[in-house]
């Protein structure tokens, strides 16, 4: 069984799915990613599905699970590069990918992550804390 590589770039984990995944491969990716989020302390995950010519309910569920797990581990997940034909098919299939943030490409995905980190109120809280002490 093939494994999908997880790359660390700065504060972001980047996963680019290049193979037609078996269900086992998808499950393994879910585990690998959870481990890497904890091990690296990264706060952002980008999953690039540009190369995927279909997303079925199994892969859809994997993406939702990854997003939910990473949220528990204090990381934000963005799925990028979904092809138009895949999006149209998902709408017809009835899969809404709830809880998943998406962007058109990796660059916009990184911007989205930067923005959501900037929005985090606790950063301001720490600033405020250090100012008063």
């Amino acid at each position: 069984m093939e494994r999908v590589p997880v790359l660390k770039i700065g504060d972001i984990l980047l996963v680019s799915i290049q193979v037609d995944m078996q269900d086992q491969t998808a499950l393994a990716l879910q585990e690998d990613l959870s481990d890497r989020i904890v091990a690296t302390g990264c706060h952002g995950v980008i999953i690039d599905i540009t190369a995927l010519d279909i997303v079925d309910s199994f892969v859809g569920r994997m993406l939702s699970s990854i997003a939910a797990i990473s949220r528990v581990l204090d990381a934000e997940t963005v799925v990028v590069g979904m092809r138009p034909a895949v999006a149209i098919t998902l709408v017809e299939l009835g899969l809404s990918l709830d809880g998943i943030r998406t962007a058109l490409n990796v660059e916009l995905g990184m911007e989205l992550l930067a923005r959501s980190r900037a929005d985090e109120p606790e950063d301001l809280g720490i600033d405020g804390l250090s100012a008063t002490t």
């Binding site: 963005v78 799925v79 990028v80 979904m82 092809r83 138009p84 034909a85 999006a87 149209i88 998902l90 709408v91 017809e92 809404s96 990918l97 943030r101 998406t102 962007a103 058109l104 490409n105 660059e107 916009l108 995905g109 911007e111 989205l112 930067a114 923005r115 900037a118 929005d119």
Partner: protein
Amino acid sequence: MGLTAEESGRLAALLETHADKLTASWTDAVAAPLRGRLTRAELLRQVQDLHRTLVEALQAGDFDLSAEAAASLRATLVEMSRSRARQGFSAAETAVTVFGLKKALFDVVDVRGADPQVLADLLALGLVIDDLGLFTFETYAKTREELIADQAEQLLELATPVVKLWEGVVAIPLVGTLDSARAQVIMERLLETLVETGSPYAIIDITGVPAVDTQVAQHILKTVVAARLMGAECIISGIRPQIAQTIVALGIEFGDIATKASLADALRHALRMIEANRKARSN
């Protein structure tokens, strides 16, 4: 309409004997209604081609327009009808190119003094010419249909331009009636443009759409949902009062989709969002 080998042979000989006079008179008959839109030399060449291929087909005996021997005659007729159709000539102006031969025969052959055998042959030839005319007409109609289909396709392309309005904003101004097929084409075009231009905002402007039914509204909604799945936001602008009423009456939920009165409002909205995002990032 078939002819016997003897009839075919006698008619071929008749057409051959008077070849020059016939083609000249035939060309005159064709040229009159066209009023100079094709030169006489051009018409003469076409008429000569028709004359030659008709004689050849008749010489093969047992004349039959659908037979192998008449293949080059058919090809000549097809070529002539197609070029007439493409150049915008009417059906009558096309058919006259074939029927001109009848008039030429009356001019050239001394019909009143002819013996019954010649008259009978001419009558048979008349029927053959009618067949040629029908064949021409059919080819003409088919070509026109193809032209119309091509134009409809081009119109579909033209009617759905996706334009980049600003860095990060594309717009698709919809004009005219939307049917299900067109709505689907539009949906795909818009989504593809989002990817190509990396634009996170799309404006669907329906100012030019006279009516929206349930199916079309569903297509627009699906486009918006698909765009969201890809990471882009759609704004619908130019909803006219009647359409707003239809949408509500049909019970279609536009939910949290941004709607704006005009394309300008929609663009302003998109730019505001882009600006807000930029600020959030630089904080």
